[in-house]
Amino acid sequence: MKMTGAEAIIRVLEAENVDTIFGYPGAAISPFYDALLDSSIKHILTRTEQGAAHAANGYARVTGRTGVCVATSGPGATNLITGIANSYMDSVPMVAITGQVRSDMIGTDAFQEADITGATAPFSKHNYLVKRAGDLPRIIKEAFHIASTGRPGPVVIDIPVDVQNTVIDFHYPEHIDIKGYKPTIKGHPGQVRKAAAALQAAKKPVICAGGGLITADASGVMLELAEKRNIPVVTTLMGIGSIPSDHPLHFGMVGTHGSPTANYVLHHADLVIILGARVGDRAMGAAGALAKKAKIIHIDIDPAEIGKNIYVTVPLVGDLKHILGAMLELVEAGRNTEWLGGIADWKRKNSKPASWEANGQYAGNGSQKSYIRDKSDVSDVSDTSDVSDASDVADIPETEYVNPKYLLSILSDYLPEDAIITTEVGQNQIWAANHFKVRKPRTFITSGGLGTMGYGLPSATGAKVGRPDSTVVVISGDGSFQMSMQELGTMKQYGIDVKIVLFNNHRLGMVRELQLTRHGGRYSQVFLDSNPDFVALAAAYGFRSERITSNARVREALERMTASSGPYVLECLVDPMEPTL
């Protein structure tokens, strides 16, 4: 069947069951956009290409399907780069299609020319520069296969504008065979037996659950295994959601910004079972010391991750669902009473009540002041609530703040079980990771590896498009929010119902804290005291919005936010000195 290259691209996207793509048009991708008009594929026009990449990422993470983003050549393509790198670091399946200048112009520094395959080689799983239109069906099918199998990741397809216009005889390849790409799925049976035996013999085992568990849809079988032998579970940042936060075997997130209990459990175990985690420096910085004290079972679909950052006793390559299923058959039920009892004792001795719980008053972590002055302040809920009020930030007494940890710890009370949280990067991310009660896999969406500010809002739009029936809430900070706030326009255009909880401390809080602890409090370029009025900004987009300035207002505000339909901005004034942990 005769058709243009552009039409062939659309045909293959349809054959891959792509229902939505995120993108931004331009000259070099215009034949594609023309062909798109005759397709049922929905296109979401974002406000920058980076927004499209993050939205495709959010879509992919909540649905488990491959996200697709599209941009033109040159600046369109380079704007995608952060989103591509972000997907690479977090192993998110994505296909990024970019227009390129005419084939005969490549290498001449033509208008809007950029070598995007060269630029993305370090952080894409694979990329293609398409030279013959006839190759398009095979290449696009291969791209989806590579992006979504093995350890998922982004694949970039760069398509010169003349290739999009070339008429080809369309043949859809039913099978593809990529000689250099055969991911290992089934674990080596001998290694599986070794791992099961080590688990059976361990006195103090711990499961360290990573994002790979969620990617592999193996959270359920991991929980079965943990419950069968009563193994405590700690997670990495990417692993949040693999076990419900309130599960009795869950002991929190490990790492520099993790919970003390989780780190205690990890470093006092005699067997650490690392599942779908790459032993990153923020999660397991003292990996060398850990491996000296404990046996390590490391299971991952990417052989290159095993033995990279930690010495491993039992390496196991393959799909977690297969492998954990096989291990579940091999191990006997166990209690681990002594080990779990020891952890409980330690936790009792070492954990302090949360600051907002002490005497029913918020004591304030960062300063000595008590913010709720008396009971009358708590009960007086009507007259200081400034719903859609553009009052000047300067009018609000300094002593009035919302404790973000408190808000996050009760937020799930107002959300359905399958509600999705996306976060920005910075203090808001860690507050959310440690305090929000996650109940299901694929509902805690955050930029783990790259740590991309400006990720939360566009990824939330993608998440909502992917899972339209779920409530989607962005946990944001005033710094990150302003990196992607133009995406409010995308939300408005398509009526994407995302709720934004914006913690405004008028600081780049994480960096401020770092400067306090590492640079003796010499604050450098972390002040955002002249932030815009976010409530008025939301109103300009026609969104409902509200600013709250005390803990006493939190519950009613969350109720209003979750009860309203349509996009919503809940700005919470936060103490600039509020610590991360």
Binding site: T117, G118, A121, P122, K125, H126, L129, I146, D177, I178, K179, G180, Y181, K182, P183, T184, I185, G187, H188, G190, Q191, D302, P303, A304, I306, G307, K308, P315, L316, V317, G318
Partner: protein
């Protein structure tokens, strides 16, 4: 640190060399030499890469190379179980007084004179890295003007061959 020889089968198309070279630089691996050429199957090229590093490094290099979609197969060649050769072209100063002495050296090393001028001789030498280095050493007193070396290529001894097999899962569990 020890030198290790990796034989790598890759897809024979544009961009593969830059992917491999880029991987080495961004992961901080040191390449001693890299030689590449097409194989008996014209869709496939073979790279011989000499890596400088310890066991951990070589394992990481192999695993990271394996992740490249264009890399089809990797094999570490044992020094004693393989034959390695390097080709060098050496331009050395010569005159009537020194020419015959140089020619003698070249004969001893079973190298060849491939070009001659009034003031220079160009020598083609091939062999193990050590042999080429020894010849270079002996020619140095005459004045070496230029050296071009190909880097090592290597092949296994005996009937062992390196070929692409289909439906093979990547080499993984240790």
């Amino acid at each position: 640190m020890a030198k290790h020889i990796l034989s790598v089968l890759v897809e024979n198309h544009a961009g593969v060399l830059s992917r491999v070279a880029g991987l080495f630089s961004r992961r901080g691996f040191n390449i001693d030499s890299l030689a590449v050429g097409v194989t008996e199957n014209h869709d496939i090229s073979r790279m011989t890469i000499v890596v400088d590093g310890d066991e951990y490094t070589v394992e990481q290099v192999s695993k990271q190379l394996n992740k490249l979609i264009d890399v089809i197969k990797i094999k570490r060649l044992d020094k004693h179980e393989s034959i390695s050769r390097e080709l060098a072209l050496i331009k050395v100063s010569s005159n009537a007084a020194t020419r015959s002495e140089i020619v003698q050296l070249v004969e001893i090393f079973r190298a060849k004179i491939v070009d001659v001028s009034k003031t220079t001789l160009t020598i083609e030498a091939s062999g193990s890295e050590d042999k080429v280095a020894a010849l270079e050493d002996l020619l140095r007193p005459f004045g070496i003007r230029e050296i071009v070396r190909t880097g090592i290529i290597a092949i296994e001894r005996g009937n062992r061959i390196m070929k692409v097999t289909n439906n093979e899962e990547s080499d993984t569990n240790g």
